[in-house]
């Protein structure tokens, strides 16, 4: 049993941390938050140049041929730095789906472009409030309907749509968002540094992928593990921020961090983070080894990452007192991102239900 990343993977993590500390400092995140367009194209280009979008793509398709574990360590750093880029949509979801479920022709066309960051992809599944299953149906290779929110849906070039085929079975379909019959608009959201769009298709041509409901579920499981690393990265940054601030700030003649009421708050935040981190590590190990308990491990990683990021990001605001409620302080950036990451690929009730189903079905 080995529950740690390899030396090389840890080196990649350190390099990613150094790079993002330089290139994705808080002013960059704020600029994205306050801009109309959301994501930071310059940062995206630099990330592409570092090869992060190519990590888990085979060398034969223009990628680096590394594993999901290298992606995990990158994800943690993207989460820590609140990077305003469509990485999770394009890499964990679209790239993986095309790698696993697309035709040979689509693979050889899209994978090199995804690796090179020339094409950005995303996944559209939510048709509005609630968590109901897909209702839109593909007829004669064309799909009509409206999806929201679609993460990074305004910037993505391609998207996977969850929709029903002619027989009413849920499948994945691939659509070119720059093609005919596609309209999209950014919606106001809690984290504008990762914009959410409404995407409307009007008889847009789509291609059926070789993926049914089970394949989609497996795709979401791998994304859940990677997103958990983004969440624990953000969690750690928010915890560090709160500790730093309360050590410096004095009240009643002593550091705020010396009061047990505050220390116990931080201890609880730390515990939640470490449980989430341990679950994410277990999920990564299950993912890398294609373990039979990956579905349960992935749901566990996601549930505890959502819980931990919410707890840590909200209590970090409280630990800052009134300053934590200002626009000027960065506390809200983590709180916003926690909300965003808790939403993509399905919220807590959905994943808790998956978790208990999988747990009760296990031997």
């Amino acid at each position: 049993m080995n529950f740690e990343f390899s030396e090389n993977q840890l080196l990649i993590r350190d390099q990613a941390r150094n790079f993002l500390t330089q290139e994705c400092a808080p002013p960059i995140v704020r600029a994205a938050l306050e801009s109309d367009s959301g994501y930071d194209r310059t940062l995206w280009q630099k990330i592409v140049e570092l090869g992060w979008t190519a990590i888990n793509i085979p060398e034969s398709a223009g990628g680096l041929g590394l594993s999901c574990l290298e992606l995990c360590v990158i994800a943690e750093e993207l989460g820590r730095s609140l990077a305003p880029v469509p990485f999770s949509s394009s890499v964990y979801l679209a790239t993986e789906a095309i790698k696993q479920f697309a035709s040979n022709e689509q693979r050889s066309y899209y994978l090199p472009k995804l690796a090179a960051g020339e094409v950005i992809g995303t996944w559209a599944h939510s048709e509005g409030l609630g968590t109901a299953a897909a209702t839109a149906q593909v007829m004669d290779g064309k799909l009509s309907g409206s999806w929201m929110p679609v993460p990074d849906g305004d910037t993505a070039d391609i998207a996977l749509f969850t929709a029903c085929d002619a027989a009413g079975e849920v499948r994945l379909f691939l659509a070119d968002l720059t093609g005919p019959g596609v309209a999209r608009a950014v919606l106001p959201s809690m984290d504008p540094s990762r914009p959410q769009a409404q995407v409307t298709l009007n008889e847009a041509p789509v291609h059926a992928m070789n993926a049914g409901a089970d394949d989609l579920s497996a795709l979401l499981d791998s994304a859940a593990v990677l997103l958990a690393f983004e969440q624990i990265g953000g969690c750690q940054a928010a915890l560090d921020m709160g500790i730093e601030y309360t050590k410096q700030r004095y009240a009643f003649g002593r550091p705020v961090a010396s009061f047990q009421a505050i220390k116990h708050k931080f201890a609880d935040m730390y515990v939640a983070l470490e449980l989430a981190r341990a679950n994410a590590y277990y999920g990564a190990c299950a993912l890398a080894n294609d373990a039979p308990d990956l579905p349960l491990a992935a749901a566990t990683a996601r549930v505890s990452a959502i819980d931990a990021y919410y707890l840590v990001s909200k209590e970090n605001i409280q630990a800052h007192g009134g300053m934590g409620f200002t626009w000027e302080f960065d506390c809200h950036l983590y709180y916003r991102r926690a909300q965003l990451l808790a939403g993509v690929i399905g919220t807590l009730p959905v994943w808790k239900e998956k978790l208990s189903t999988r747990l009760l079905e296990a031997a």
């Binding site: 529950f3 931080f266 201890a267 449980l275 277990y282 190990c285 239900e353």
Partner: protein
């Protein structure tokens, strides 16, 4: 990252498995093995001696002290396998888990060779004597006096919450040897012969009716200087070793109540419906599982660190805090699910032989033993996160000048 045993561990696992199949009874449920009463103690001792003869006791201890000279990972393999069998180890956890490491670290070579093998083979049972009526979380405020008597020592005072003192042959005792210096500097740690006239053990009846703990009184108890662990005045360092070993010893086995809850949800029907189909129960199941699985994975991460030559960090304090709280919450929740009959504590009527009712009444003690929730949070905040200590009213004072409350 992988889940595989090394070839060496795989072969050890297979040895353990076949020995257990031949020498122990398989479990049919996940309920706790009680440790109350003399019969349970005799059974436990017989089991432990059998396992010691087979070479499976104290796996990580050096061979010259009665151990097997193996790694912490072997210990984990043993724990994982033995879980499926009905065995009794609880009486020896404190001696072997807490006292053993301190003796190994601080005792003179002669004492180690004399006492450790007998501890490892369960010939001698040990207890730990730290807490006092006036010194719980602030254990360094203890008042049991050890005074020089020639080259040896005489003990007077009282300890409390001593697990298994009624069965113990020896104890590790923390005493005050100098009240004129600050409280941490005036302490000395000793080994103690419990079978002497100057040591009196009185059982404590717990709020759940059980009698796991004791008060221990010293009336001129005698301790040879060769039984001293570490320097005179250096007892606090030794005590910290014991306390960290304690948390480590229990971190892998800290009951969370989750496996029992999972069994309950899988098996029980209430109001004509399986519990497993109730969405509210499923929601709670998911929350607790995510914590339970987190503790398990945390433990695996700690083992990886230990296997790579690192040391255990705060995992033990987290395991203690999260597990003990979860255990109480799960027990209470389960009894609520049973409806008005949840209050009935009758192993013939109550599900899982009244495990959940028992835990409602026992779990408050688990949250206190080995450090309260608040002590765990202070450890995490101060030692892991580096937050400043609370100002202390007794800072810099000689022990004898520290104010105490009435009584």
């Amino acid at each position: 990252m992988d889940f595989k045993d090394t070839p060496e561990l795989a072969s050890f696992r297979s040895d353990v498995r076949s020995w257990l199949e031949a020498n122990a009874e398989r479990r049919t449920d996940k309920l706790h093995m009680g440790m109350e009463g003399d019969a349970a103690f005799q059974e436990a001792k017989a089991w432990y001696q059998k396992k010691a003869r087979a070479g499976f006791a104290c796996l990580t201890w050096p061979k010259e002290y009665g151990g097997a000279g193996l790694t912490p990972l072997h210990d984990v393999v043993w724990t994982q396998e033995v879980e499926h069998f009905k065995t009794r180890d609880a009486h020896f956890v404190i001696g072997i888990g807490n006292c053993g490491p301190a003796i190994m670290h601080f005792a003179k070579e002669e004492g180690k060779r004399e006492l450790l093998p007998r501890m490892a083979s369960a010939e001698d049972v040990w207890c730990q004597l730290f807490s006092e009526p006036g010194a719980g979380s602030d254990v360094a405020g203890l008042r049991t006096r050890a005074e020089r008597e020639g080259s040896d020592w005489t003990l007077n005072g009282q300890k409390i919450w001593t697990s298994g003192a009624q069965y113990s042959d020896y104890g590790v005792v923390l005493t005050r040897t100098d009240p004129t210096v600050s409280k941490y500097r005036g302490l000395t740690l000793f080994m103690l012969d419990m079978r002497q006239p100057g040591v009196e053990v009185r059982p404590i009846k717990q709020m759940d009716g059980g009698g796991h703990f004791n008060e221990v009184f010293f009336h001129d108890a005698h301790v040879p200087d060769s039984y001293r662990l570490g320097d005179v005045g250096g007892g606090w360092t030794g005590a910290l070793t014991v306390l960290m070993s304690e948390r480590l010893a229990i971190s892998g086995v800290q009951p969370t109540g989750f496996p029992q809850f999972l069994d309950l949800v899988k098996s029980l029907e209430l109001n004509g419906q399986p519990l497993a189909s109730d969405p509210i129960v499923r929601d709670r199941l998911a929350s607790w599982y995510s914590q339970y699985a987190g503790l398990q994975a945390l433990y695996k991460r700690m083992l990886t660190a230990v296997a790579n030559g690192g040391i255990a960090g705060a995992e033990a304090s987290m395991g203690k805090l999260v597990g003990a709280v979860m255990n109480q919450e799960i027990a209470n929740y389960s009894c609520q699910l049973f409806g008005p009959a949840g209050v009935i504590q009758d192993s013939a009527i109550s599900p899982e032989r009244a495990h959940f009712q028992e835990q409602v009444l026992f779990s408050p003690g688990v949250r206190l033993a080995g450090g309260t929730d608040e002590v765990m949070r202070n450890i995490l905040a101060e030692q892991v996160l580096g937050l400043p200590q609370e100002p202390r009213a007794d800072k810099g004072m000689a022990f004898q000048d520290i104010p105490t409350g009435p009584g």
